[in-house]
């Protein structure tokens, strides 16, 4: 026995009451990172896992080779969506506080990590999201009303009350049903992509998980199978710096960025400014082209920050400085996108105010409509006997009997 350094315990750089410190984040200048051809060999682009692909600079100008050259319409579409998502999140959060819904999770500050990728994918590409990609559902036509009705578990809930709020689904729009179990969707996306290729389609799959979720076994299973079969899949890690109370270092983000896991498996890893919509779009576009052309999987780490609480069950002031988000060096994705549009002369402060008011109104109106299909406390309610349906294609005998038992009890 000797006086021995004990195991290393990762610490966040600041705890409540301390000054935020993001000096651990290695940043690249906007436009400074080269964009390799999409058929480049891995060994020629390993640095991409350590650099930070950024397009928008501090003056909100688009810089460098990764600039996806989006037109005004696309940029505006993205901004509208972001504004809508934020209005939606804001409303739902308040509705949860008022007890109208049981639970909610915002994506505040992370909107660009789904909107950019969602725009860069084809509608027939399949998405396997984590629980902070509500924007994907909106983009793929799920509809605000349906999403609210789901969160209310009301008569119009697309999963008939079976899942907690925010566990959306949208089969027609090719966005998968969200699981409460972290990371399970990651290797499923790989399987989906393998099937696409086996069937001769050039559709690809994309999946999202959080930084904390990379520690789960399914992360490895996804990367291994994706690498072995060169599956046409994009594996996104949304590194918003925090899991629940644990800093991203607790998933192993301290020594190496999550993007760096990729090259270790033979998969290109891109580290991307997650609060820069142009960068998230461009990275996805690059990886999608690579995958579609048979170049195999890409691991993308979006560096961002969780602006809100983990969920409505969480109180982040217990474990991190209150003002951390405002000190985050990559800023707010909405401010940056708006700034870019203003800079291009396509948008103004006034127009943004009007848009926000419009979206807020839209959300309010939709909420009212949603409530007309029932809330947790006021009818109409879903029929509880339906809980026995859809577990199997045909209801087996024992479930029929249980359903009958339930019915019989009610009649008493």
């Amino acid at each position: 026995m000797s006086a021995q350094p004990k195991i290393h315990i990762p610490h966040p750089t600041a705890r409540p009451g301390e000054a935020p410190d993001f000096s651990y984040l290695k940043l690249s200048d906007a436009g400074s990172v080269e964009r390799p051809p999409t058929d480049a060999a891995l060994q020629d682009m390993e640095h991409l896992a350590f650099d930070l692909v950024r397009v928008l600079d501090d003056e909100f100008e688009a810089q460098g080779q990764w600039n996806p050259e989006l037109g005004k319409d696309e940029l505006l579409e993205a901004l509208k969506l972001m504004t809508l998502v934020r209005a939606y999140d804001d409303r739902m959060l308040r509705m949860q506080r008022q007890g109208k819904i049981t639970f909610y999770m915002q994506c505040l500050g992370e909107e660009a990590t789904s909107i950019g990728p969602g725009m860069a994918l084809r509608d027939s590409d399949m998405c396997f999201p984590h629980y902070r990609q509500q924007a994907l559902y909106l983009m793929r036509g799920t509809g605000l009303l349906n999403m609210m009705c789901h969160c209310l578990s009301n008569t119009r809930d697309f999963c008939r009350g079976r899942q907690m709020p925010v566990f959306y689904q949208h089969a027609e729009g090719n966005v998968f049903t969200i699981s409460g179990n972290l990371t399970t969707q990651y290797p499923q996306a790989v399987g989906w992509a393998m099937a696409a290729a086996i069937k001769g389609s050039d559709d690809i799959a994309a999946s999202w998980i959080g930084d904390g979720s990379t520690a789960e076994a399914d992360f490895h299973q996804a990367l291994t199978f994706a690498a072995v079969y060169q599956a046409p899949v994009i594996l996104n890690v949304v590194n918003n710096q925090w899991a629940i109370s644990t800093f991203q270092a607790f998933a192993g983000g301290e020594l190496r960025p999550f993007a760096a896991r990729g090259p270790g498996y033979g998969i290109p890893g891109l580290r991307v400014d997650g609060n820069d919509l142009l960068a998230t779009y461009a990275a996805t576009q690059w990886a999608a082209e690579r995958a579609r052309n048979g170049g195999g999987p890409t691991l993308i780490e979006f560096v961002t920050y969780r602006g809100g609480a983990h969920s409505t069950s969480d109180d982040p002031s217990r474990y991190r400085p209150k003002d951390e988000w405002s000190a985050f060096p990559l800023g707010d994705p909405m401010v940056r996108l708006k700034g870019h549009l203003e800079r291009l002369g396509h948008w103004s402060e006034q127009e943004q105010e009007d848009l926000e008011a419009e979206m807020k109104q839209h959300v309010t109106d939709t909420w009212k409509e949603a409530c007309s299909y029932g809330t947790m406390t006021e009818g109409p309610f879903l029929d509880p006997h339906e809980m026995f349906e859809d577990l199997f294609e045909e209801m087996p005998q024992h479930l029929k009997e249980q359903q009958a038992e339930m019915l019989a009890l009610e009649e008493k």
Binding site: G161, R162, G180, A215, A217
Partner: protein
């Protein structure tokens, strides 16, 4: 004696054991600095240091596996799985390793690991935050499976689990963390303060890991249950005016058949109840064991009151939960049969 709810009782058990035995370590997601999403480990890291109360990566398999390695190296890890629904990524390490290391090595290696995990519904957790998987663990040879129904038992049983050289999976019904719940969601929330089992010694004590408890004596019917449903059974029997003997199994494996047998031989009627799904669940073993031990005394078939054989749907929590209505119907079926 102090008044404690179940969270405080569990916290106290961990605290006492961290204090008594330098080899005890606590680990799990968010259990360290933050004190656990249900606050069961609140304050423990500050008191015992960050090398003894460890935050873990979000990897249930890794948590169980590293706990095993620590156990093999002389520590006594108490690992938290944040929700029982998330224990499955660790299932291989539990069933193939933890349960078998002593056996396969002829006891030359052992891993005295305790795995704590909140289970059960009643907090609007939907299908991924409400499961009761105890039946699966009870079937795995080589681990003990425990589920307390009150703060006093929770502390005493958890201390025994930690002290045990056998691996223990310890399920905590989260619906009764803050107070007993008799199955009626319309009633105002109860607190443990007014409950006899909310009286908990602050110091060390332990309870045996192989004894069921007769919670209430009676002679008309035996209700064998555990966890949240103990309270539902008591309330329903009272409501019906049935003089039920209510038995809290507490340790599901090993099962204290003798206590059940004595009771059923007396009452001649038996109802088995749990919140978990029915088919091939723990209740099936209770029925099988009891019918074998007490066949000649049984005046009616043993009935089961359980969760339905579906996931726990968010919207239908109270239609899913086997509350007083289903318990009453079950009691009546048993009482009226024959």
């Amino acid at each position: 004696m102090a008044q404690m709810n179940m969270i405080q009782a569990i916290n106290s058990a961990l605290d006492v054991m961290l204090e008594r035995d330098q080899n005890v370590v606590v680990m799990g997601q968010d259990v360290g600095y933050f004190g656990g999403v249900f606050r069961c480990t609140d304050g423990l890291q500050a008191r015992h240091g960050e090398h003894r109360v460890l935050d873990s990566p979000i990897s249930e398999g890794g948590i169980v596996a590293t706990a095993i390695g620590m156990g093999v190296n002389g520590l006594r890890p108490v690992a938290e799985i944040q929700f029982a629904d998330y224990i499955y990524p660790g299932f291989d390490q539990i069933a193939s390793e933890l349960a078998r290391i002593r056996y396969r090595s002829d006891a030359t290696f052992t891993a005295p690991v305790t795995i704590r995990s909140p289970c059960g519904g009643g907090i609007r957790g939907g299908q991924t935050h409400s499961q009761s998987p105890e039946g699966i663990f009870a079937h795995v040879s080589g681990i003990k499976t425990v589920m307390p129904s009150n703060p006093y038992d929770a502390k005493g049983l958890l201390i025994s689990a930690i002290e045990s050289n056998d691996p223990v999976v310890f399920f905590e019904p989260k619906r009764i963390y803050n107070g007993p719940f008799d199955g009626d969601p319309e009633k105002p929330a109860q607190s443990w303060a007014s409950h006899a089992k909310g009286e908990v010694p602050e110091d060390y004590y332990s309870l045996p890991l192989d004894q069921a408890e007769v919670i209430k004596e009676g002679d008309e019917i035996t209700i064998v249950t555990y966890g949240t449903l103990v309270h539902v059974a008591l309330a329903t029997a009272e409501l019906l005016g049935v003089n039920a003997e209510v038995i809290d199994v507490r340790t599901l494996m090993p099962l204290d058949v003798m206590t059940l047998q004595k009771s059923v031989e007396k009452t001649g009627r038996c109802l088995v109840a749990h919140e978990a799904t029915r088919f091939c669940g723990y209740g099936a073993e209770l029925v099988a064991s009891i019918q074998q031990a007490c066949f000649w005394h049984l005046e009616a078939p043993i009935e089961r009151v359980t969760g339905w054989d579906t996931p726990y749907p968010h919207a239908f929590e109270w239609s899913y939960f086997p509350g007083q209505k289903r318990m009453a119907a079950g009691i009546r079926r048993v009482m009226e049969a024959g």
